[in-house]
């Protein structure tokens, strides 16, 4: 599905991502873990075109998507969420989700200004689908609440279903449970699991080890911008290099 080869990103003298390569198989949950500052978010930003890659190539199903802008990637089936919540606070929950569907709705100026039949039909159809998605995370009753009045935990989930609204084949989740309590974390994990039922591939950046170990099919460990290890959750758990990176060398 996604193949990244020799990705490198330098910020001044710091090489945040250093000659990093990995592959994601279709329909899997692929976790990328690593200590703080390992370069995980930088990696996501490189894949999604927020940062330009100094070196390396990103392939999506055999097509070169290196440095393709985030909004263009959506049209190729790649969508992302953010470590620091990015939702539209002054819009309602429903509108936030509809935003995800906007790629399918007509935005032709004439049609829009005269509120054509197409515009009304689009609105009705996608409002139904958006409400269905809100139902999925149990907040259909808050559809018309401005999201700045909703809790952080709900918004983390809202961000994920907004991404889902764009009908992606690949979703990059950047720390979807950061700052959530155990109950909310479990809910997000369940949500992520339902996504994979629809054949959506997921790249999961996360610190919550328990969730990563439970959810992921495959794990890549990053440290100082380099690949430290990769394998199944079991292999990673037993890998001495990984334990060293997380817990220190142990040789005091």
């Amino acid at each position: 599905m996604l193949k990244a080869e020799y990705l490198t990103k330098r910020f001044g003298g710091v090489t945040a991502v250093d000659d990093f390569s990995f592959r994601v198989k279709k329909g899997t949950i692929h976790a990328i873990i690593g200590p703080n500052g390992a370069g995980k978010t930088t990696l996501v930003n490189m894949i999604t075109g927020v940062y330009s890659c100094d070196e390396g190539t990103v392939w999506l199903d055999g097509a070169d998507i290196t440095n393709t802008a985030t909004d263009q990637l959506v049209y190729r089936g790649v969508c992302r969420t953010f470590q620091h919540l990015e939702v539209c606070g002054n819009m309602t929950a429903l509108e936030n989700i509809l935003l995800g569907f906007d790629r399918y709705m007509t935005k032709n100026l004439m049609q829009v200004c005269f509120r054509s039949k197409r515009v009304r039909e689009d609105e009705a159809r996608y409002t139904q689908r958006a409400l269905h998605l809100l139902d999925l995370i149990g907040i259909a009753s808050h559809a018309h609440t401005k999201v700045k009045n909703l809790s952080y935990g709900i918004l983390k989930k809202l961000e994920i279903i907004r991404a889902l609204a764009t009908s992606p084949e690949l979703i990059l989740l950047d720390e979807p449970v950061a700052g959530l309590n155990p109950k909310e974390t479990a809910e997000v994990a369940a949500l992520i699991r339902t996504l994979t039922k629809d054949e959506v591939t997921i790249i999961l950046i996360e610190h919550d080890m328990r969730m990563v170990m439970e959810l992921s099919d495959y794990i890549t460990v990053m440290n100082f911008g380099k690949k430290l290890a990769e394998g199944t959750p079991k292999e990673i758990r037993d890998n001495p290099e990984v334990i060293k990176a997380y817990l220190g060398s142990g040789s005091f």
Binding site: D71, Q72, C88, M91, E123
Partner: protein, 315 residues
Amino acid sequence: MKTLKLSRSLIILAVILILIPFFMSNDFYYEIVIVALFNSMIVIGLNLLMGYAGQISLAHGAFAGLGGYISAVLVGHFGLPPLVSIGSALVFMALFAYIISKPILKLSGHYLAMATLGIGVIITIILNSEEELTGGADGMSVESLTLFGFELSESWQWYLLAALLLLFILWLIENLIDSPLGRILRSIHDSEKASSSVGVDVSHYKSIVFVISVVIATLAGSLYAFFSGFISPQEASFNHSIELVVMVVLGGMGRLYGAVVGAFILTALPQLLTSFEEYQTLIYGSIIILVMIFMPKGVISLFDRFDMGSHHAKS
């Protein structure tokens, strides 16, 4: 589902506009109201840019003025029919806005304000210095407007034209705000990152909203030039641009009908205060400061208890 959806606010405004002529005892009052109507149009466009899409422009007075000049010059110096002149001004200004939008809307906040300020000042300088075409600082006279062989000369005719046009523009923009396009504009205001993560080409939509607002300003500026029969660089001045921004904020940012309220208050206020003579500016400034302190969401928020204005304001 009804084909023609009219909001309650639009109907209320239409009723008010129908009632206004009954209180117009002389042409002077008419003139103030007509100027307020034209200002309302510009402010609606500017509010779309500022209040909805979250981009500032300190050059909309200049755009309206430049648009007015283009129409006036095409009629006065090249003898084109008024409608053709206005049409050409709209096309030219739309292209102009599109081209300048690409570099300047990459900026945001103070930097965008500075860039638009610069463009506005440049336009004023050009209008002042191209004396052969524009008459320089003295301005130029503009022929009266003839539409389909019918000359608009009476105040009530102008009032009718401006009022109908305002209602039409409000209806169009209200539809736009309530559409996927409007949603995208509001999302850009809230979070550009969120918008682009769902496939919104942020720079494209910023350009679109900028062009729309400049086109409306050009239309209003052109009609104003024909209405007053005279245009000077004063219309394109920095002062006028600031006045328009204050109208947006005073009326209510991101509130469609706030634009109309703001435009009417700020157009009428200086006239009402003329009897205070030298204290006029002082009182004018104080009123604006007090309104902004006690009504930070704009004067339109006073009407919220009657559920007027944009329903997006509900939370």
